[in-house]
Amino acid sequence: MALLEVDNLQTHFRSRDGINRAVDGVSFHVEARETVAIVGESGCGKSVTAMSILRLIPEPPGKIAGAIRFNGRDLLKCSDREMRDIRGNEISMIFQEPMTSLNPVLTVGRQIGETLRLHQGLSAQAAENRAVDMLNLVGIPEARRRVREYPHQLSGGMRQRVMIAIALACNPKLLIADEPTTALDVTIQAQILDLMRDLKRTVGAAIVIITHDLGVVAEVAERVIVMYAGRKVEEAEVGRLFRNPRHPYTQGLLGSMPKLGSSLTGVETRLQEIPGVVPSLKRKLEGCVFASRCAHATDLCTKVAPALEEKAPGHIAACHYALKDALAA
């Protein structure tokens, strides 16, 4: 049994001018100790998927349907009280903006200790000791002094380390990281990615990382889910996806990224463009969601929505025309 199984997740939002189908039928699973990346551009539903797993979607105007099984238990059927016991304890989350995600009037130590006292009933002293351990774990120097400091006394990179410390304090089985390095500078991003790779070995939590940056995906993920317009369009093991993308959208994304070191080859290339814009999710989309921007789209694509098919072992894509390996029967 997988640690997390998301089955046909639909998260819709009601607005004045229609229903926004932010996530529309997404299924995936995460094994214990595995790192899965969900990648896509803004508005593809990747963050909403993450928020839905923790039931952090305000209802109304939102509504979640489908099933989210964590250790076999459907989170959508849990009471609010049960969800509170799960959040921050068994599943925890890191957000993009480390400044606004930390409470400015509480010390770092209090914020780490709070989850421990809440979920594990630790005493104030034990919680602080554990907070110091956590700060050491995430590589913050002088942890004894830092636990007494307030978020504004820390730099952006330090704050993100504190966020990770809070998230890991209760030894969660699943860590959801929503664009954890997007707000950071590139040298700080490298530090945090390095830390996450380290922690993966030492802590052993499964990680779902939400990002728009394919570089980050390549650095940390084992398996990748590509989302577009609220659907999963491709999923594969990371090496396979980058070497041999099957869905035209994934191909377009990879082609539109300039590669570092491009000048060393001596060939001037032009970036591939994906023409057009993402379709509105407020209308019902007929056929393939990517058809309006796909260079290969035919009549079939605009009429019939392609199912997710296994195109190669462990490699699934939703495209009528994607090349299919001969699968062993």
Partner: protein, 309 residues
């Protein structure tokens, strides 16, 4: 590296096409509402607040058509009558018809409210724009405004009224002066934040002169927050006017206003509460309606508020 030629348009026959299961909706469809009803449905606070304000305006303008009598006609024989079919809101100590006085009284409240809102907005906008753009003027103007703001507006208005004689015009001037500092502060804040907008930098780089930048890039973007502020000024001016009239420092007794009707009923409050009750209800409803209108306008006009789902 990724190559683009992994598509195989070769062997697609209808039989082999794998269609995804269609996804149903999990919530009932959103009904598209157009026209007036759509507007009311989407902006109930604007509709209700605006509707009541509009009703009050119609009532004030066409007061003679609303089954009123001369609000100043004295009738000592029919003093302090209870509300009845003949005198809907009863009569006061001098036998004047309270209903007619309340309806005519709306004129003063609305004129004062609207005039102060307009005058204070224009003056505040000018001062705010100047101090937002002229560095040396800013520190002087804002210190003066700070000084004025340290006096409660109502006290300032009373003090100003003490210098002149009571008339609607003087009431408007006094309340406007008392309201200007707050508006100037607001506009200055808006101007300072607008000045930092990249489109203003881009306009400077495009050779636009400062007066044109103020006129074309700053002013139009202060209108929305200004309109919202104006409604709140209007509401507060109506209350201030009533207070001034109530303590006898505002509208002269010859002109009925909600404040001075209440002032005249004050002595009989214990035995004839209706003389105070009706103008008070009208004042409350009008101020509430104007405030609702302002809240509604803020929600629709202020993009920062509107962005939150």
């Amino acid at each position: 590296m990724a190559s683009a030629s992994v598509l195989s348009p070769a062997d697609v026959s209808a039989a082999k096409v794998a269609a995804a299961a269609p996804m149903g909706d999990i919530m009932p469809p959103v009904k598209a509402r157009h026209g007036l009803w759509g507007f009311i449905y989407r902006n109930p606070t604007i509709a209700i607040g605006g509707g009541i304000v509009l009703l009050m305006v119609i009532m004030a303008v066409f007061a003679p058509l609303f089954w009123t009598v001369d609000p100043t006609a004295l009738a000592p024989a029919r003093r302090t009558r209870e509300p009845s079919a003949e005198y809907w809101f009863g009569t006061d100590m001098l036998g004047r018809d309270v209903y007619s006085r309340v309806i005519y009284g709306a004129r003063v409240s609305l004129i004062v409210g609207f005039s102060v809102a307009i005058c204070a907005s224009i003056i505040g906008l000018t001062i705010g724009l100047v101090s937002g753009f002229v560095r040396w003027a800013d520190s002087i103007v804002m210190r003066v405004m700070d000084g004025m703001m340290s006096i409660p507006p109502i006290l300032l208005a009373i003090a100003l009224m003490a210098l002149t004689r009571g008339s609607v015009q003087n009431v408007i001037i006094a309340i406007t002066i008392a309201e200007v500092p707050r508006v100037s502060r607001l506009v200055r804040g808006v101007v300072l934040s607008l000045r930092e907008q990249p489109y203003v930098d881009a306009a400077v780089a495009a050779g636009t002169r400062t007066p044109v930048i103020i006129w074309r890039h700053i002013l139009p973007n202060t209108i929305a927050p200004m309109t919202v502020q104006a409604t709140f000024i209007c509401a507060s001016a109506m209350i201030t006017e009533s207070i001034l009239s109530f303590i006898g420092a505002g509208t002269p007794p010859i002109i009925p206003s909600w404040g001075n009707i209440m002032a005249e009923g004050r002595a009989l409050w214990q035995v004839k509460p209706y003389i105070v009750f009706f103008p008070a209800v009208f004042l409350s409803i009008t101020v509430l309606a104007v405030n609702m209108l302002g809240d509604g306008l803020r929600d629709t006009l202020d993009p920062r508020m509107a962005k939150r789902i």
